[in-house]
Amino acid sequence: MTSDGPTPRRAVILGARSAIAQAVALRLAQQGWDLVLAARNNATLEPVAADLGLRTEQGVQLLEFDALDLDAHAELADRIRACAGEFHLAVCVFGHMGEAEAERLDTNQMVRTLTTNFTAAAVCLAHLANDFEARGEGGIIGIGSVAGDRGRQSNYPYGAAKAGLATFLQGLRNRLAPAGIHVLTVKPGFVDTPMTRGKQGMFLVAPPERVARDIVTAWEKSRDVLYTPWFWRWLLLVIRLVPERLFKRLKL
């Protein structure tokens, strides 16, 4: 087969319902990527897919995907190929932020936070990493959180799961580097999304478009760890430097 233009590159967005995911999808499509939007109940994402296709004239496919269906992740790569063709980038965006109060009292709530943010993401990316490694091409973007850099009373289950994911991605990066497969860990600060809407104690809130722009730029520059917006890197540096003896008494 011959083709005049560059070979289409295809990115899979896992958890395409989130506001960050949709902003990243738009940004990627504007840079010439075709897209597979994977989410549960994907029919409700038809307007999102139509919009991305119209604005960017890139190919956009929808894929039914349940992050919590851990047993299905082994076949995920094949399902993506069957749905849309070969893919070259996996962006894992799904996450869940519970209510701290509810998590303390309800096992199911706690498990949901831990599983969605860590176990499901790790299992899913492990399988995709195997696929990329076997092919010798591909890349992974995983979304951690600044909440994973230090445990705080207000959302430590979420933070712990995101910290676990960040460590997982770090190891994955180390493992895949010889194969030329890049792994980017993103640590967003507070982002203005439905997940965080109405939550208390938010400050320096960034729009999802800003975060998406940073993510895609960092990917193009092959950065390893991205704090977005940039100032969170320095803010977190300071927060990490506070001695635990003092930190445990703070209300952050």
Partner: protein, 451 residues
Amino acid sequence: MVTAPTPLDNHTPPLPVKEIVYGWGRHPRLAAEVHLPRDLEALRAAVQGHGGATIPRGAGRSYGDAAVAERVICGKSLTHLLAFDSDTGRLHAQGGVTLDEVIRFALPRGWFLPVTPGTKFPTLAGCLAADVHGKNHHRVGSLSAFVEHLELVLADGDLVVCSRKQHPELFWATLGGMGLTGVIYAVRLQLQPVRSAFLHNVSIRTSDLSESCRVLCDTQHEYPYSVAWIDTLRRRGRGRGQVMLGTHAEDDRLQPLHRPPRLTAPTLPLNVVLRPGLSLFNMINYRRQLRRRTTTTVHYDPYFYPLDAIDNWNRLYGPRGFLQFQFAVPFAGGEALMAAVLDRTDAAAPCALAVLKTFGDHPTGPLGFPLPGFTLALDFPRTTAIEAAVRDATDDVIAAGGRVYLAKDSVITRDQFDAMYPRLDEFRRLRQQVDPQSRFRSLQSDRLGLS
């Protein structure tokens, strides 16, 4: 088998958030439960949810209390383009898409809004609910004229497609219905073909209200766009100004500007829009044009949306906000009525901006605002005196056979409203059918006895 938690229901909408909501005039204000649905299912759930008076809201660009209620269903997240045919210029889009987004999408493809108000920030659904008009109403009518169909979520959560053929009563009542018939989820709109992002503008200087009216009337069949800026602060020569007449250029420059507003007005502790400053501004603006008639080529952004250059300009009016009074009045006796209104209001507050244009004769819904004649829009810093003067002026407008624009209103009384909109019963009957329990209500509809 791996243990996993029970899945969350995707359609559980995020919790509504309490916010203070108000219109573009920044008054009145109300603590409201704000719903922000991101898809049709969430929108239907929000409409059916329990609670008090509910009103759809777009970008919050109506001036008064039309989009203020205890429960607000905000369309800001329903911003997806659904389909576009680049041969016919038909755009199918969700209601929360703003005019700015439509232009940025369509202009490079050779299409433009068929009608646009003086700001690009409102949503499509908001524009249709307010039946907005533009500088070309005398030629083509309001934006409603270009709607092929509406997808409306009714009070019971049902999605209904309505058009001129399908549920025509509901279709017409919704265009200008101020959100009281349901939530406009999506719309199919016919765009107009253009060959440039620029417009040729002819500006004609006028020496008083009478000449402004005459020039507007004499030129309206020659140019698709016409509007007059007038100076209302002078006792002698009140109503002098510039009549601006526009046509789309044809130079094949189709790139929209991606320039965000360079200036943002800060929140101020007091009103800084005062008579001396306004008089000076008006004088400079008037004298800037040296010849009686000048011709320029202007990009659509400064041409249609000069005020959008300053973000949040409504904050300049301070904590009490501002009030816009816009009315339409038949040509016969229209000029005398406008002169009387200007005298009356000028005694109460200085008018910061006065815009005069003509309306043509086009079909409207039962709550449609335009009628063949003149329309005058006046901005004032909000005071008790100007509220009273506007109410008195409204009586003058009624006596002259005119009406006040609901998208701008926050002060008229129920009796005045009843006297101005002759097809009100038609609207009430339809509302009785589609929303018998009066789920959709706003501060405005309560004040005007519409709900």
